[in-house]
C-alpha cells in the first residue's frame, strides 16, 4: 500500500513538474475554469447581497401592518381609525410615557435620477415620525441633521447618495409643485432603509393628498416575534381588513425576489462549465498522448497502472483548482463590495452590495473540482490502460 502511495506521489510530482512543457495548453484549460468560476460567483454574490440587504432590514421585535392582500407597503392604505383601533391590541410595547409604541408611516414613490444610466427611476419616500426612529434603532445621522417637524425638509439614506444624483446635502428637490431641502444623510448599517428618502409624515400626507391616512403601521412588540395579540384583534374586528407580519418576515420574503438570479447563474455556470470541461479533456488527452512513452517506461520498470491513473487525475484536478481559486479571487476582488441598485418588490429601487461569502466561494471551488475530476478521469483511464508495447512503438 505504502509502495503504491509512493509510486503515485512520484508520478504526480513528475507530471506537475513537466507542466511547463505543455504550458499554453494547460494555461488555456486553467483559464477556462477561471472564467467559469468567476461568472458563477458573480451571479451568486449578486443574489446573496440583495437578500442580505433585505433580510438585514427587518427586525423580529417590530410588526408591520398593511392592508389585507396588498403585499407591499406601496399598495397599502390604512385609515387613521384603523390605526387607532389596532393600537389598543395586546402585545404592543409601551413608550417611556406609557403610550403604545407604534409608528404610522407613508410610503410613496418619487422620481430620482440613477447615476449609472442617467434615467429616471422610482425612489421610495417615507413619511415618518420621531417614534419611527426610536422604534427602529440603529439609525445614525452621518451628515447634517434630522428634519424638523412640520417643514419641507428631508433626510436621505446613504445608498441614495451613492446611486442617485440630485440628493446631495443642502440641495433642493422638487416633487411636483413642492420644494424640499435635503438637510441630512442617515445610515442604518446597510439595510434597505438606506435606499429611502425620509420626511415628516404629515408633510407627505399633504403633498400626496392622503388626508389623514397612512400606508403601514410599524409596531414595537413587547415580546420579539409574538404577533398573536395583533392577529387576534384583526381577526375579531370586522373593521380591520389588515395583514400583519413581523418586519423580519416581511423583508425576508422580499429578499427572495432575486432568487431567480441564482438559477440563472448556475445554469450559465454549468453550461459554460461544460465548455471548460471540453477544454480540460482536450488538454489532458494531449498530456497523456505526449507522455505516452514516459508512462510506458514507468510501467516497464514496475510502476502500477494505478499510479499512472492518479498521476493524470491529480494533474487535471490541480490545474482546475488553480483556475477555480484564481476565478474566486477575481470575483472577490472585482465583485465583492460592488454597489448597485435594482427594482425591488415594492416597485422601488433597492440599493445593495454584492457579497461573496465563504459558502459561495465553496460552490465555485466545487465546480472547479468537478471539472477537474471529470476532465481528468477519462484521460487518466486511458493512461492507465495504455499498452506498454504500443506506447513504445508509437514514440519510436
Amino acid at each position: 500500500m505504502l509502495r503504491l502511495l509512493s509510486q503515485i506521489w512520484t508520478v504526480i510530482v513528475m507530471n506537475v513538474r513537466s507542466l511547463p512543457q505543455r504550458l499554453w495548453m494547460s494555461l488555456a484549460a486553467t483559464f477556462a475554469v477561471t472564467v467559469v468560476v468567476a461568472v458563477l460567483l458573480s451571479f451568486l454574490a449578486m443574489s446573496n447581497g440583495f437578500s442580505k440587504t433585505l433580510s438585514g432590514t427587518g427586525s423580529e421585535d417590530v410588526a408591520i401592518v398593511t392592508r389585507s392582500g396588498s403585499q407591499s407597503e406601496l399598495n397599502s392604505v390604512i385609515g387613521r381609525d384603523s390605526v387607532n383601533i389596532l393600537s389598543t391590541a395586546s402585545g404592543i410595547a409601551k413608550t417611556a410615557d406609557g403610550q403604545p409604541f407604534y409608528s404610522a408611516e407613508l410610503y410613496v414613490v418619487v422620481d430620482g435620477k440613477k447615476r449609472s444610466s442617467g434615467t429616471e427611476v422610482n425612489i421610495p419616500m417615507r413619511g415618518i415620525s420621531s417614534l419611527g426612529f426610536d422604534l427602529r434603532g440603529g439609525i445614525e445621522i452621518v451628515e447634517g441633521r434630522m428634519f424638523a417637524d412640520g417643514t419641507n425638509e428631508i433626510i436621505v439614506g446613504r445608498g441614495i447618495l451613492d446611486q442617485f444624483s440630485g440628493f446631495e446635502l443642502g440641495s433642493e428637490v422638487a416633487f411636483g409643485k413642492t420644494r424640499w431641502t435635503v438637510v441630512g444623510v442617515f445610515s442604518t448599517g446597510g439595510s434597505a432603509f438606506e435606499s429611502e428618502l425620509w420626511a415628516d409624515a404629515r408633510m407627505v400626507q399633504d403633498l400626496f393628498n392622503r388626508g389623514n391616512s397612512f400606508q403601514t403601521m410599524r409596531i414595537k412588540l413587547s415580546e420579539a416575534g409574538n404577533i398573536r395579540g395583533l392577529e387576534e384583534m384583526i381577526e375579531n374586528d370586522p373593521r380591520l381588513i389588515l395583514d400583519v407580519d413581523t418586519e423580519a418576515g416581511y423583508f425576508a420574503a422580499q429578499g427572495e425576489a432575486l432568487e431567480g438570479i441564482v438559477w440563472f447563474g448556475w445554469g450559465i455556470g454549468i453550461v459554460m462549465g461544460l465548455g471548460a470541461l471540453a477544454g480540460a479533456l482536450n488538454t489532458m488527452y494531449t498530456s497523456v498522448a505526449s507522455r505516452a512513452s514516459e508512462i510506458a517506461t514507468l510501467r516497464a520498470i514496475g510502476f502500477s497502472n494505478v499510479s499512472a491513473f492518479f498521476g493524470t487525475l491529480v494533474e487535471s484536478v490541480v490545474l482546475s483548482l488553480i483556475g477555480g481559486v484564481i476565478g474566486a479571487l477575481v470575483s472577490y476582488i472585482f465583485m465583492d463590495g460592488l454597489t448597485t441598485a435594482t427594482i425591488g418588490a415594492s416597485f422601488t429601487q433597492v440599493v445593495f452590495t454584492f457579497e461573496l461569502s465563504a459558502d459561495l466561494l465553496q460552490n465555485g471551488i466545487l465546480l472547479a473540482l468537478v471539472i477537474g475530476l471529470v476532465g481528468g478521469f477519462f484521460p487518466a483511464l486511458k493512461a492507465a490502460r495504455l499498452p506498454v508495447i504500443v506506447a513504445f512503438r508509437g514514440s519510436a
Binding site: 392592508r67 392582500g69 440613477k114 411636483g176 459554460m272 482536450n282 494531449t286 435594482t342
Partner: protein, 432 residues
C-alpha cells in the same frame, strides 16, 4: 485485480454515457441521419470537388478532439443565441413602441395618479389624433404570486391608440358591448387556460370594493394577439367604468394618459402643450414619447444588457482560448506532413488557406449547431408556462452569429496558418 478494475471502469463508462446522453445524443442523431441519408457521403464528395478533401480529412483525423472542440464552440453559440434572443425580447418593448405615441404621467412619479378630467382637457389640444387613459390595477389570479400587467381602460379609445392589439371583429364587438368584459393577451390566456366565454375572478393588491373584498368578476370576451411576433401579449385589459363604479377609494383618478400625435415630428410641440397646460396645478404632468418611457422602465431593473453582454463575452473568450489552442496544437502535430506537402509542390499559400478553411469550417459548423439548439430552446421556452417575453430568433441575431463564427474561425486559424506558411521544409522534416 486488473479484471475487476476493467469491469468497474466499464460500468462507470457506461453510466457516464447514459448520464451525458443529452449532450452527445443530438450529435449522434445528426451523424446517424446524415449517414443514413447519404449526406455524409455527399459532404465528402463536395469536399473532394472543392479541393477541400485534405481539409476534411485533417479535421476528422482525431474524432475525439474534433468533438470536444466542436462541443465547446457549440456551447458558446448556444449561450450567445439564447441570451441574445432574451435581450432582443426585452428590447422589443422599446423597439416596437410607436413613434407617434406619448405617455402622460404624474410629474412626481408614474405611480402617482392623475384626475380623469385631464383626459378631456388633453383631447382639446391640437396635433393629436387619439387620447385614451389607463390605470394599473395590481391584478393577480388566484395566488398573489400570479400578478400580471392589468389595466382598467377606456374600451374604444384604447383600441385606437394601442392599435397593435389584434381582436377578431366579434371579439371587438363583445368587448365594446360588455361591462364586465376583459381582454387578455394570448400568452397570459394560455398560461392560465382562459378561454373566451369564461368567467374568472381576479384580485387586486391595490384596490378594494366598497364591501372590503378585493375580488372582481370578469368575463373573458377576447384573447388578443399582436401585430408583431414580439408584441407583448401578457397584459390584461378591462373596462374603466366597471372599475371606477365598484372600487372604494380614489375614484375618478387614472394612472396615465396615452396620446397619439398626428406625426412624430409634432411630438415635441404636443409634449410642451400638455405639460404647460397642467403646470402649477396640484397634479403636474410629465409627457414623454413611449419609447423613452419604456426604455427608462427597463433601466429600473439595472443594466441588463451589460450583464448579458459580459456573460456572452466571457463565454466566447473561453472558447477562443480553447479552440485557438487546440488548433495550434493540431497543426504543430502535423509539422512533418506540412513539410512533406511542401516538398511535393503544394504552394505555401494553398497550405495557408487550407488551415484557415479548417478552422473556419470548425467554427461555422459547430456555431450553426449551437444556433439550431437555440431555436429548439426558444420553442421550448415559449411553450413553457412561465412569465417570459416571447423569444424570437431574429435574422439580426443569426447574421451577427455568422459574423462571430467567421471571426472566431479566422482568429483561431490565423496563427497556425501563418506558422505553416513560413515553415521551412528542411526545418519541418528535421523536426520530425
Amino acid at each position: 485485480m486488473t479484471a475487476v478494475w476493467h469491469y468497474i471502469s466499464l460500468i462507470f463508462r457506461l453510466l457516464i454515457r447514459i448520464v451525458t446522453a443529452p449532450v452527445w445524443l443530438p450529435f449522434w442523431i445528426v451523424w446517424w441521419l446524415f449517414e443514413k441519408t447519404g449526406i455524409n457521403r455527399l459532404i465528402v464528395k463536395v469536399a473532394m470537388a472543392l479541393g477541400l478533401y485534405l481539409v476534411f480529412k485533417n479535421l476528422t483525423r482525431k474524432p475525439l478532439r474534433l468533438f470536444l472542440t466542436m462541443f465547446a464552440t457549440f456551447v458558446a453559440f448556444l449561450i450567445y443565441g439564447t441570451l441574445s434572443t432574451f435581450e432582443s425580447a426585452i428590447d422589443a418593448g422599446v423597439e416596437l413602441s410607436a413613434d407617434d405615441r406619448l405617455i402622460v404621467v404624474n410629474k412626481i412619479n408614474f405611480t402617482q395618479p392623475l384626475p380623469i378630467s385631464y383626459v378631456n382637457r388633453v383631447k382639446g389640444l391640437e396635433n393629436l389624433t387619439d387620447v385614451t387613459h389607463l390605470n394599473w390595477f395590481g391584478g393577480y389570479y388566484q395566488d398573489p404570486q400570479n400578478f400580471m400587467a392589468m389595466f382598467a381602460v377606456d374600451e374604444d379609445t384604447f383600441l385606437t391608440v394601442y392599435n397593435e392589439i389584434v381582436l377578431t371583429p366579434e371579439e371587438r364587438q363583445d368587448w365594446l358591448g360588455s361591462r364586465q368584459g376583459l381582454i387578455a393577451g394570448k400568452s397570459i390566456a394560455d398560461q392560465y387556460g382562459w378561454k373566451v366565454g369564461d368567467r374568472i375572478p381576479i384580485n387586486s393588491n391595490i384596490f378594494s370594493k366598497a364591501d372590503g373584498s378585493t375580488s372582481w368578476e370578469f368575463d373573458v370576451v377576447g384573447i388578443y394577439t399582436g401585430t408583431d411576433a414580439q408584441t407583448d401579449t401578457s397584459s390584461v385589459y378591462f373596462h374603466y367604468d366597471y372599475f371606477n363604479e365598484t372600487q372604494s377609494f380614489g375614484r375618478d383618478f387614472i394612472g396615465f394618459i396615452g396620446v397619439r400625435t398626428v406625426d412624430p415630428a409634432m411630438n415635441e410641440g404636443v409634449i410642451k402643450a400638455i405639460d404647460d397646460l397642467f403646470a402649477n396645478t396640484p397634479y403636474e404632468t410629465e409627457t414623454v414619447p413611449e419609447k423613452v418611457f419604456n426604455q427608462a422602465f427597463i433601466e429600473q431593473i439595472g443594466n441588463l444588457s451589460l450583464i448579458l453582454g459580459s456573460v456572452v463575452f466571457a463565454a466566447f473568450f473561453i472558447i477562443l482560448v480553447i479552440v485557438g489552442n487546440s488548433m495550434v496544437l493540431a497543426i504543430r502535430e502535423r509539422t512533418g506532413e506540412i513539410g512533406v506537402l511542401k516538398t511535393l509542390g503544394f504552394k505555401s499559400t494553398r497550405i495557408f488557406f487550407m488551415i484557415l478553411a479548417e478552422s473556419l469550417l470548425l467554427a461555422i459548423f459547430s456555431g450553426a449547431l449551437g444556433l439550431l439548439a437555440t431555436s429548439l430552446a426558444v420553442v421550448a421556452v415559449n411553450q413553457a408556462p412561465i412569465q417570459l417575453p416571447v423569444l424570437v430568433l431574429t435574422p439580426a441575431i443569426i447574421i451577427e452569429a455568422l459574423v462571430i463564427m467567421i471571426g472566431l474561425g479566422l482568429v483561431t486559424g490565423i496563427l497556425p496558418a501563418v506558422n505553416a506558411l513560413r515553415l521551412n521544409i528542411i526545418a519541418a522534416l528535421s523536426r520530425q
